[in-house]
Symmetry: C7
Subunit: 255 residues, 7 copies
């Protein structure tokens, strides 16, 4: 077996200037079930596939409210994701305590970047094996922030991470010009259509496996209830899956 | 022998984005004798097989009360499990001291998740080799929380972990729709029937090898005494084991 | 030689979910000369073989008083055992200082479990290479507590650890039903008969190689003097060793 | 494979007196998209290529204001670069707090050198995989400061770092004598012409992929808006690319 | 060469339950020049061979007074031994300061055991490469305490450690019954006769190579002067060395 | 390849009693461009070659003022050198603060030796890859202090370190008897002639590549400006380079 | 190549009970230029060879005053030696501050032993690569103390350490009986004759390469000036070198 001597310590550069351990952690993110985020001028939406461990479990949470004006969805190692969600909740609380107002999403993104980066540079920790989408609304408008294990933290119009997320991004790129002026309901349908494209042909979205979170102007972050999810899924089902999309890629969905 | 260079340090990702040390700790959990947890609208029940070291030992504890409204059962490395049970007892006490009321089960689950996750990310510790079921009752109703060495902490309608627990989960999945409205007595019988399915054909449940814990509305957490256990086992014995179940899987029971 | 890459660090799980370093420390315990503990309703007795380094040494202590209501015996690495005995003495003193009464044996067992477990989970220490039996008496009655390097801490009716201790456990299992109502004198004889069974056929118990500790209702923990030991050994000698027992197992006695 | 035993720890010298890990981190810098900085007597300009992840992302920031009199551009690992940009912002704030005036650029450079050097000498960290250009103006005039992972911090008349930056440096060297007396507008055009030379023949500068920052006498640091960028690019397009330049080097552009 | 993977770290157990690093440190003790200790009802004596580096050195100290009622002799790595002797001196001083009386020898032995044991269990230290004999007198009578690198601390009637000490122990075992009632002078002669037996046939005890320390009832610890040593050696020379003894063992004397 | 197991950790001695990592750090010093220092009774002069990265960079500093009575020049890893220069500046400031007078050069040398030595003896750091010459004047007269990565700190009449510095030292040894009574101007010329000898035949000193620092009685440390450097170089150019010198050694000049 | 797995960590014992890293540090001491120390009833003298780096360096110090009543000479790694000399100076100052009198030489030796020993027992440091002779005078008379990397600290009548020091020790052993009553001048001549014997036949002592330090009753420690050294060397030159001595050993002189 080829022995790569630079890939088992996050503090070691390869001769090519790469940090292999960070790249391997990105693999963990890529194997989580997909999540999609998009925003209009006034709203930000995140949708995610919930893993169905079995019929005995409550719905596994993939989307968390972190404050009244922001929520997150997770792709990758869920236990790492929950640690980060909790970190963001604490950041939100601290800011409210200090400034008596909601934390600007930009400040939240900066705090996240600092936390993620430290685990890529110091010995004795490992990079977080998770990507996170933040949907938020503040005085600068709606925001979708994407993070990954390499500590990249980027503001997006729309994005998707996780297993087979390339299919979702393809949908989003084709429709990006429609998002800005979409109504909240349209935004949700776009997000769900993108998410559906990450599924293999034999699977479909359902109220059981789909989570929807939305936040916007005068609308605090809300995790939709099953009934509401079903309503939006009805909308989605009126859009037939094209064969090409349904055949999707060969990317296996794990985790 | 195939040498896997990524599987002896919990802070090292494999190129496939896996944490092998966490997976190996899950193996320790899988080898512990089984435990089952289920809940109705008003009660939560945990039952567990007690390991019979020999006739000289007192009954080995597999179920611990951690507060008047919650108890835990353990599968895996018992010494790790006791550390975690004690950790939860301390969390319960601290909350009572601070807020003069029982800790919400959700807060307890969050504290557990934080503790478990840290041992999957920092150098110099190892993941806990144990899974834990928490049975609790608070103002949100009855709860069964399942944890494992990867720091997954999930709320369940019913579940089983430990050796040959797949058989128990099969029973639970077939009967899950009956749990919600079950009486406490019926819940216990369901749990015992599921637990019985983890036993090889030549073994059976007895007052000696079976522990039962129950908590619910107006009913503090109680670890049933041998006499009470026997009464419930009588109920169970009226349900014949099907051949299929009794033959069970080939999964060996260790630990 | 077969190279096991998972067995030299206590914080590393094997792919089978085992902690080899803990198992190796158990080997050290198994090689120590044997000790036996049993209890009745009112008394707890521990007896141990003293290692005879040579005729020049004072009797090597294998049994320690740790408070007026408890004592311990040791099998394995004696220097580790003394550290733990001293730890227990300190726990007893602290409790008396804080609560003005003897520490409940259950609390002592919990403190011991915490101390032992830490050395199985954190880098830079090794598991203790010793097993300990605690004989105690408190308001809950008489107790025999057994600990080992894996941090298992179990309450027993009777038990034996150390070299060839299986023979002793066999004796105890055959006679366990007699212990509960035994007089202190009978308890001692049972313990000595079990201990004798750990000896090879050509050796025998003597006042020089045997230690006896006893505690009970209204009887503070006492380490018997040589003369008293001899009296009890006289009793024992009236019970002939059966050939089968005397031939014992092939287990070599070391340490 | 040739095994170099001195290249995986930043605290280990090679027999030739080299620090390979520092050199590997420089590789990460070399693979980032290019940035150019030049200064006149009165102004300092930095321009940078923005990576176009896809059409869904907002413009990725490559240039940051760190105070009213200084900004930075980044080549290499962006998450490392943002940490350093934030470090410099904090240095600026602290100085203002302590001295009620902007930090001299020289002091800023010294602080940066200390921070970078520590990661080349102590175990358990890695060198930063990023180069940074600082454009600033203070009582000593305009400044362009260049840093790299080896903790070299140098004051420059003009410079370029990142992928294919040699082509830009060639342009700058040929035109260096013109910079001192250039107007701000001329400076920007020089910088853009140099930046254009780092592009392969088939690519060109656009308002989307180009960032421009400028600071100078009586002109606080400004990151130009897209419209303003387009105006300057129009100027640049009047300068035809020579074939030789357009063919550029074989240096691949990554990251 | 046979590679033992368990023998270079004091915190690693071998599969057989051994701590090889402790055993190797015992080797260092075994190679030091021998020392002998014996006691009567009223006195404790330690004698030791002094290493003759060359004629230029002052007599190398092998015996140290640690308080008015106790002294120590050393076999093994002398620099380690002096550290331990100083540790014991400090323990003696502290006790006198706290309790205004000499430290009981038993307490001194316990402190020593704690100090030695820590170096057998924690990473980053090594076990002390030295054995120490403590001769002391307190209200419990005379004491000879023997310690070794494994943290064994044992009370002895008589003992010898160091190179070829088996020969000395053989002498002591043959004469142990005479010690209890010996006069101080007789004790010294016994100790010297035992020490002489550790010498090869061609060497002999002399005032130059022999140290004698004695403590007892109403007799503070005294390190005898050369003249006094000579007087005792005269006594010894009246006991002829038997051929068997003089031929001694094949054990080489080092260090 | 020959594997040297003792040369990758500064805390490991080779069997020959060498510290290879220190020797490798000396290599880094040897590859820096040369610097020369000499002194008379009243003045100390340091001269150094400035590396010409390219025409875009400001003059790279090789000589630093550290106080009004002292300056340093650097050969080797410049980022390490600047850390040490800053360390010395801090030492100077502290002394002035504490004693209201300039630090004696001897005290400065001692502080430097302590700092350098620590990095040759403790794990987790590396030796500094740089040599430093200190030119100073205090009540004991003029001083040239030479330091290297091994923590050797020596007072010199004249010296040179860095690439091809042997040629400079040869010049200095031939002329050492003239220095003591030289005027400041003569000292500078001697230093420059020595420095010129470190250049290959095809290169020469210029105001661009040469730095000159001088300090002396009633003359604070001064880094000469380019114009002043040119005046002294004129003097030097009147001394023809001998063929032998110009051919110099085969030592390559790096860094 | 023979791979010794026990010789690269100072905290690892070899199976033979040796500490190889300590032995390798002793090699560094053996390669330093020699130093000699002897004492009479009233005076202690240390002499040392100064390394002649070249004609440009001031005399390299091999002998340091550490207080008015004591000085040290060094053989081995000079930078380590200076650290230890400074440590001793600090010990002397502290004692004077605390007790208002000079530190007894015995206390100084104990402090030194503690410092040296720690570097032979704890991970992350290396043993000092230097031997030190202390010449002192206190109320107990004159002292020569010899230390080495193994933390051996011995009081001597006379001694020599460093390259070819065996020749010096041979001289000293032959003349040791003359030292006690020697005058200070005679002592110095003896020391120089011993030191001369460490030189190869073709070298000789000179005022340039020889340092002399002396301390005694009513005579504070003095490092003789070159003129004084010359006077004593004249005395020495009247003693012809015997052929045998001049041929010396084959021991190469390094460092």
């Amino acid at each position: 077996m080829f022995r790569n001597q630079y890939d088992s310590d996050v503090t070691v550069w390869s001769p090519q200037g790469r940090l292999h351990q960070v790249e391997y952690a990105v693999e963990a993110m890529k194997q989580g079930s997909a999540t999609v985020g998009i925003k209009s001028d006034t709203h930000a939406v995140i949708v995610a596939l919930k893993r169905a461990q079995n019929e005995l479990s409550s719905h596994q949470k993939k989307i968390y409210e972190i404050d009244t004006h922001a929520g997150v969805s997770i792709a990758g190692l869920l236990s790492d994701g929950r640690i980060l969600a909790r970190f963001l909740q604490t950041e939100c609380s601290s800011w409210r305590w200090d400034y008596k107002q909601p934390v600007p999403i930009k400040k939240l993104a900066e705090a996240m970047q600092l936390k993620l980066q430290a685990n890529t540079q110091y010995y004795g920790r490992r990079p977080f094996g998770v990507g996170i989408l933040v949907a938020g609304y503040d005085k600068d408008g709606a925001h979708i922030i994407q993070t990954d294990p390499s500590a990249e933290v980027v503001s997006m119009h729309g994005t998707s991470i996780g297993a087979r997320s390339q299919s979702a991004r393809t949908y989003l790129e084709r429709n990006v010009e429609k998002f800005e002026k979409s109504s909240p309901e349209e935004l949700i349908v776009h997000a769900l259509l993108a998410l559906r494209d990450t599924l293999p042909a034999e699977e479909n979205l359902s109220a059981q496996n789909t989570s929807i979170g939305i936040v916007g102007k005068d609308a605090p972050f809300t995790l939709l209830e099953d009934g509401q999810v079903a309503v939006h899924l009805n909308q989605v089902s009126t859009h037939p899956r094209t064969t090409a999309q349904a055949q999707g890629g060969a990317e296996p969905m794990q985790m």
